[in-house]
């Protein structure tokens, strides 16, 4: 929930991904070998706008090998592994408590790597145990919300008319409604037993998280709807759902991926916030519930940094991993956002004061050719 506007969105609407795949952008012309491997992704289906998209998703959908993507993937993998094996790694029972130090939390030591709480609970055990719930809720929310946004966004964009109007209205309603206060009211009324069911929590969070993806997907579908290959599929007599699933959806993959990452990120933040407020059963360990106990025992003004920093940094790092992947996909969709490699080289040559010009579809290879020189 700490995400601002920028996530997948701001640059998206104008930058249709099929346009990124138009022949004009083909980077090889520009003579920058390997400077921007991302370019090979959209560059390959050069005929996308002319004929049916070539089969074989692996060839068409190569993730760019930018540092952002790699770092994001590694971090993401680490968190997923932690979610699976975490509870078995815990050296202590995270809930077992003892009052032996007059209720004073102990700083990190060899016995307790991340120190203890005021009840002598092991923070490290709480962290590795709580990772599973946090990741599970976030992914459950992300998956459900993505399915919702694909169904609603693509159908609205494809059908148009009244369907579009009503679906868009619904999405706009959920977009302007402040989500966290709504969820606080919902969880406030839910019976406490709900506070331990990760999948149910994820499901409830997803209800407030699908609207943004639906809006972006609808816009993309609108731009795809009248492309030649979709029209021809329709004329051949394909049924509506088949056109959507086989002609439109494959071309929306990057946008779907971006909106999935966005909702997972949203799920992490929201779940942590709800648990921090004590709306989730605090006995059910998650990073948010550790923060709940830390706040209740004034860890932040008593200098018990080992208590609140691990869960906070874990949430922030998980969010960073998701955001890095999102950045990568953004740049994949909209090549102009890429900052690294190419432009650094160009500005280096052109001098600092000059505006680093980028290509505009077919025009720029010419400009670049006389600056860049060798192939």
């Amino acid at each position: 929930m700490s995400t601002g506007t920028g996530l997948p969105g701001a640059g998206l609407p104008g930058a249709g991904l099929p346009d990124a795949g138009l022949p004009g952008v083909g980077l090889p012309v520009t003579g920058v070998p390997g400077a921007d491997p991302a370019g090979t992704g959209p560059g390959q289906p050069a005929g996308a706008g002319l004929a049916l998209p070539p089969p074989g998703r692996a060839r068409r959908f190569q993730l760019p090998r930018s540092p952002k993507i790699i770092i994001g993937l590694v971090m993401m993998g680490a968190f997923l592994i932690l979610a699976v094996v975490g509870p078995w790694l815990a050296p202590y029972n995270p809930s077992s408590s003892a009052i032996i130090t007059n209720g004073v939390p102990q700083p990190p030591s060899a016995a307790h790597w991340l120190g203890t709480t005021q009840l002598q609970q092991d923070v490290f055990s709480q962290m590795v145990t709580g990772g599973r719930s946090t990741v599970l809720v976030a992914f459950a929310a992300g998956i459900v919300a993505t399915v919702l946004s694909v169904v609603i966004g693509v159908i609205a964009g494809y059908r148009g008319g009244l369907t579009d109007d009503s679906f868009s209205m619904l999405a706009n309603f959920f977009l302007v409604l402040p989500a966290l206060p709504l969820l606080i009211v919902v969880f406030g009324f839910l019976p406490p037993a709900t506070g331990s069911n990760d999948l149910l929590i994820g499901l409830i969070i997803s209800i407030t998280g699908w609207a943004f993806g639906a809006r972006v997907l609808r816009a993309q579908t609108l731009s795809l709807r009248n492309r030649d290959y979709v029209e021809s599929a329709r004329i051949v007599g394909e049924r509506g759902w088949r056109v959507i699933v086989f002609e439109i959806l494959p071309n929306l993959t990057p946008v779907v991926a971006a909106s999935f990452l966005f909702t997972v990120l949203y799920g992490v933040g929201t779940y942590t916030a709800l648990a921090f407020l004590g709306l989730i059963n605090p006995e059910h360990w998650s990073w948010g519930s550790i923060l709940f106990y830390a706040q209740n025992n004034e860890a932040e003004i008593s200098g018990y940094w080992w208590w609140y920093m691990p869960p906070g940094f874990a949430v922030a790092l998980l969010g960073t991993a998701l955001a890095l992947l999102n950045f990568g996909i953004d740049e994949f969709i909209n090549p102009r956002l890429r900052a690294a490699g190419l432009s650094r080289r160009r500005t280096g040559k052109a001098g600092r004061g000059k505006l680093p010009r980028r290509f505009v579809l077919g025009v720029t290879p010419v400009i670049r050719a006389d600056e860049g020189g060798q192939p």
């Binding site: 920028g6 977009l175 009324f189 932040e300 008593s302 102009r336 650094r344």
Partner: protein
């Protein structure tokens, strides 16, 4: 102006929908949580309060759902949100009225600062694309991803507890209100610095990335090239590009403001700042349902109003919206 009329109509419908959602949530919940709370309140509050609450939540009543709904709307239009059970016998509206100015002041100021600052930084980073400034972007992801209240923890620990530069919480030092003199205002400001800093740090990241991404795209437009080619001063060129690039930021405001307000509420909790977030925490802890729902409605209305303001600004900035009709 038709654009604005349509937007206002949309917000009115949205406000009505939010009110209706607020009405139905307690009635759809399994396990009847309200009666459990009412049972606990037995003896602590007067019998008339209990029956008032029962009426508010449609318990022990022969009235149909529609009748309850009409009642609920009537109460709402009279500004009656019920009795707060956690600060009994105060009314919900009284409790909220005491907290609202603090939140509006803090969140309003911080949002304006972060929008202005984030947009300016975004312009700068886009303009200098390809230089070391690009490394600002990955750094912003951390602040975008970190929960507001965690940044608040860090700020409090570092600047208040360890360095002692700022007070560790609450909105003012004195217990009684001394009047609006310089000492009081200075005191209030020094208490507001850390919460505001937290909100700005966390929310500016979104504006930076958003502005930078659109600005980068805008800088490729022909008119920017022409402006440069005919030798306009650099500031002028940036101004032309930025004016166009800021539009998505303004229209994306609706998405952001909800996040910012939610984050700000949690920030208030960490700083024990006596705004809506603080009473929200009390309402959650005490299961004070009328207060919880009242806060939700007030926040929703505030967010809708902020959205409407953003729409007005959009119409001011973009002449195209004024041409049609």
């Amino acid at each position: 102006m038709r654009v604005l009329v349509r937007r206002i109509a949309f917000y009115v419908v949205t406000a009505w929908a939010a009110i209706t959602v607020d009405f139905f949530i307690p009635r759809l919940m399994p396990g009847n949580p309200v009666s459990a709370v009412l049972a606990r309140l037995q003896g602590q509050v007067t019998a008339s309060t209990i029956s008032g609450l029962e009426q508010q939540y449609g318990l022990n009543t022969k009235e149909g759902l529609w009748g309850q709904y009409v009642h609920y709307l009537q109460n709402l239009f009279h500004g009656n949100l019920g009795i707060s059970t956690s600060s009994y016998p105060a009314e919900v509206t009284t409790v909220i009225r005491g907290a609202l100015p603090w939140t509006l002041g803090l969140v309003g100021t911080a949002t304006v600062i972060s929008f202005a600052l984030g947009t300016l930084i975004g312009i700068g980073v886009a303009w200098r694309r390809g230089t070391w400034l690009d490394s600002v972007l990955p750094a912003t992801t951390f602040f975008q991803a970190a929960p507001y209240f965690f940044i608040a923890f860090l700020a409090l620990d570092l600047f208040a507890t360890r360095l002692g530069w700022f007070p560790t919480g609450r909105a003012y030092g004195q217990l009684d209100f001394p009047g609006f003199n310089a000492t009081y205002i200075g005191d209030v400001l020094s208490h507001a610095v850390l919460p505001a800093l937290t909100i700005v740090l966390c929310s500016a990241a979104g504006w930076i990335v958003g502005m930078r991404n659109v600005m980068v795209t805008t800088m490729d437009e022909d008119y920017v090239l022409v402006a440069q080619a005919k030798g306009l001063p650099k500031g002028r060129v940036i101004w032309y590009a930025a004016r166009n690039a800021i539009l998505p930021s303004v229209s994306g405001f609706s998405l952001a403001i909800g996040f910012v307000v939610s984050g700000a509420l949690l920030t208030e909790i960490v700083f024990s700042y006596p705004g809506l977030g603080w009473i929200l925490l009390q309402a959650v802890g005490e299961r004070d349902y009328p207060l919880l729902q009242g806060i939700f409605l007030i926040i929703t209305f505030a967010v809708l109003a902020a959205n409407l303001a953003a729409d007005f600004v959009y119409v001011l900035l973009d002449p195209r919206t004024r041409q049609e009709a």
